[in-house]
Symmetry: C2
Subunit: 453 residues, 2 copies
């Protein structure tokens, strides 16, 4: 078979169900706990925050969950996404490794986030919800949800980390163009926001604070639900479409990945590409390494602790069992805004604890070097987040060269970087810093966790 | 047959030759003239500026010109591009018309420009050229050529209109990330630039000035050739890949377009989508309307004159037979930078004169209204240039509604607008102007043309 550059899956072969790895885990993830009672969250407690069907998915141990027809129709705007042979990158590295990437950057908003935004808006819509709230850091999730909310005729309020809102006004414009209301966080519209502003009037905000505000706005207003773009099980579930497609596409090439890599923020794109393959390792003993690529400035999997922790700063979310740096950890202002989150989702955390998921942390400058190499070799400027996966893929390909092995490497290109050129500008002009974090600071923020549960 | 959202063409059905409409034109376009002698340009004169093979294509009357294997391989990074049924837009307009668009925004640089950048870099490379020069306005062409030049190991100098360079620093960063040298124009690096700066030290630049500089830089330096992203016959030729794919894809739907629309700057994306279909109108009498959608602020086809004119401001290019507003016409600062060019290519001009190509001009605010409607209905933010095609498509669809006709409309989505959010920001905040041009000003700039030939 002649190798093509892109391996395309016909629309009618797009998977009809999402894959839930919980079904195949020997040890299930520990349950989320109520933030006040510290007892396992009951479905009706979750339903105060999220749409019913999403709660059902959050707690499900079913292996396959059908993708509704209406969601599938919308997926087809850009899915199935191409699997691409990174032949240019292979040549640039002069490696015997075969490198493939799943190109999620072709989505209309430029990232994988739309995979979960669409079903989340859909399930809220059919339940009769009228308004959605959410938070966004770099703006990828907010943009995706804006598209989905508009399609289903839902109002959307996005709490956007203030500093991002100022530094990335164009992401704000994208959300507004799709009809969403964007509120810089911390704001005066919630008690959580007012509390922070009273203490720190010029607070730049954080994802944790924005989550607190968005949840408060949802639970205090009628017909309103909250939505989240990563971390939780139902989000991970929706993203499995990435790996399920990739599995069929890899089969079309005749190759099977030895290593799978995804960048790691809360876990949504990483889990999406990795879990459908990891399934075969769990069930059938397939030899496979899956690597979460996280920033050296926010290294929860490589240097955090496994502990119950809050998902937000103020402490309104359920307590989740996670690898965490502590919910008041303040990550440095790296450009990969989507990876600046203190904790890892419960499923990934459990799998990491069991040794089924590896993790590597990467410094910012190495990421942008790898990103620039990839851009010049493959013609696509990757999102700052995705450069983390690329840096690890490059490392693996160079290892293969030293070992003289024809290893098959698959990574997820979670998004393009065309809206992040300020970051590349800084890199090109030599003004970018590396940002690492001291053990001392990590201890400071994680030591406080022991009292939580 | 169940209608799919995207109509995908398998890689192996990608056309193997470009289509040259000159072969089928009853009246061939008038020849380009030497700027000094006013005699038809000889091939060797063209070759002082452009690569040999491109000159051959520029003057060719062959119907089909084979796409080199290496170019085809690179095309496959993102081609064939999807043909999409704009079902969301149809629903929003409640029209009986069927609307399709060819989605050229999925290219790695976000526009159709890469279709010609790759072959142009390729033919220069195989001829042994080492350095390329070009100009860019909004930056779409410069970005595309940067990718192509890097791939073939060619140095690239891009003269970027100074005002665009300042207003769109991220387009500059894209080119730099791909390794190109970007020079704000007018600059001190050329005599043309120095002359302009001496007269107008704070000149914001124009596409015409940048062309003068890029040509001068090419003809005065060794192993260097110039490249252009629109207007000329060989560029139009390369873009025919758009329409050739669309033709096969339309056949897959069972529909055939009644109307084809492309936005119009120099003519490259418009000709690309339209000419392969127009062929059947010329040859077989197929009933078909093709419409060039131009900005009301730069209306060369609807309000310009048919006359020999220069392609640049200073008068270094060959004289081309074109609908023109005069080479010193100063278009208003609309956001569709790619459409701010004073003249139309020779082929389109001839076809327009014969009544085979229609033209409509659209005001900026109507374009952004249509663009926002499209974004909300289809989930894709269109480039400011592409909104012109959308505005005309919407108009045609509404006409079909009034007439109760199930008309088939096809337009080209030449690019996405994710790097143009400043423009949407201005529109969203109500600060955008319409910019029209007076007959008086058009007379001022076109009356001077009579002395040229």
């Amino acid at each position: 078979m002649k190798t093509t550059k892109k391996i395309l899956l016909p629309e009618n072969e797009m998977p009809e169900a999402w894959y839930n790895i919980v079904a195949d885990m020997t040890t299930k993830p520990l349950p989320a706990l109520h933030p006040v009672t510290k007892q396992p969250m009951k479905p009706e407690e979750w339903e105060g925050i999220f749409a019913k069907e999403l709660v059902k998915q959050e707690l499900s141990e079913e292996r396959w969950i059908e993708i509704p027809e209406e969601v599938r129709t919308l997926y087809k705007i850009w899915r199935p996404t191409p699997l691409v042979r990174a032949s240019g990158l292979e040549k640039a590295l002069d490696t015997p490794a075969k490198i493939y990437f799943k190109n999620e950057s072709v989505s209309p908003v430029g990232s994988h986030k739309l995979n979960s935004a669409i079903p989340q808006a859909y399930y809220n819509k059919i339940q009769g919800v009228k308004h959605l709230t959410t938070e966004t850091g770099a703006g990828q999730w907010g943009s995706a949800l804006s598209v989905a909310a508009k399609h289903f005729g839902l109002d959307l309020k996005v709490y956007m980390v203030r500093i991002s809102c100022e530094q990335k006004p164009y992401r704000r414009s994208i959300m507004q163009t799709f009809g969403a209301q964007v509120i810089p966080s911390p704001s005066n519209t919630t008690e959580a926001g007012r509390k922070i502003l009273a203490a720190t009037p010029d607070s730049p905000g954080s994802l944790g604070i924005a989550i607190s505000e968005a949840i408060e706005a949802a639970i205090t207003q009628p017909d309103t639900k909250y939505t989240l773009g990563s971390v939780l099980n139902h989000v991970i579930l929706h993203q499995s479409i990435i790996g399920l497609e990739a599995e069929k596409q890899m089969a079309m090439t005749g190759d099977y990945p030895d290593v799978i890599i995804g960048c790691f923020g809360g876990g949504s794109n990483f889990s999406g590409i990795a879990f459908p393959f990891l399934r075969h390792k769990i069930l059938g003993g397939k030899d496979l390494k899956v690597i979460a690529a996280e920033p050296a400035s926010c290294p929860k999997l490589t240097r955090g602790v496994f502990q119950y922790d809050f998902g937000d700063t103020v402490g309104m979310t359920p307590l989740l069992p996670m690898y965490t740096l502590g919910h008041d950890f303040q990550p440095a202002s790296i450009h990969a805004g989507g990876l600046r989150y203190h904790g890892a989702g419960s499923i990934v955390s459990e799998l990491h604890k069991e040794g089924l998921v590896d993790a590597v942390d990467v410094k910012q400058l190495d990421c942008f070097s790898a990103g620039t190499l990839f851009a010049r070799a493959e013609g696509i400027i990757p999102a700052p987040e995705s450069t983390h996966a690329i840096a690890v893929a490059v490392e693996e390909a160079l290892k293969a060269k030293v070992e003289g092995k024809e290893k098959v490497i698959l990574f997820n290109l979670s998004g393009h970087g065309l809206i992040d050129m300020a970051a590349y500008d800084q890199f090109n002009s030599g003004k970018m810093s590396n940002y690492e974090v001291t053990d001392e600071y990590i201890h400071q923020t994680t030591d406080r966790l022991e009292k939580l549960v």
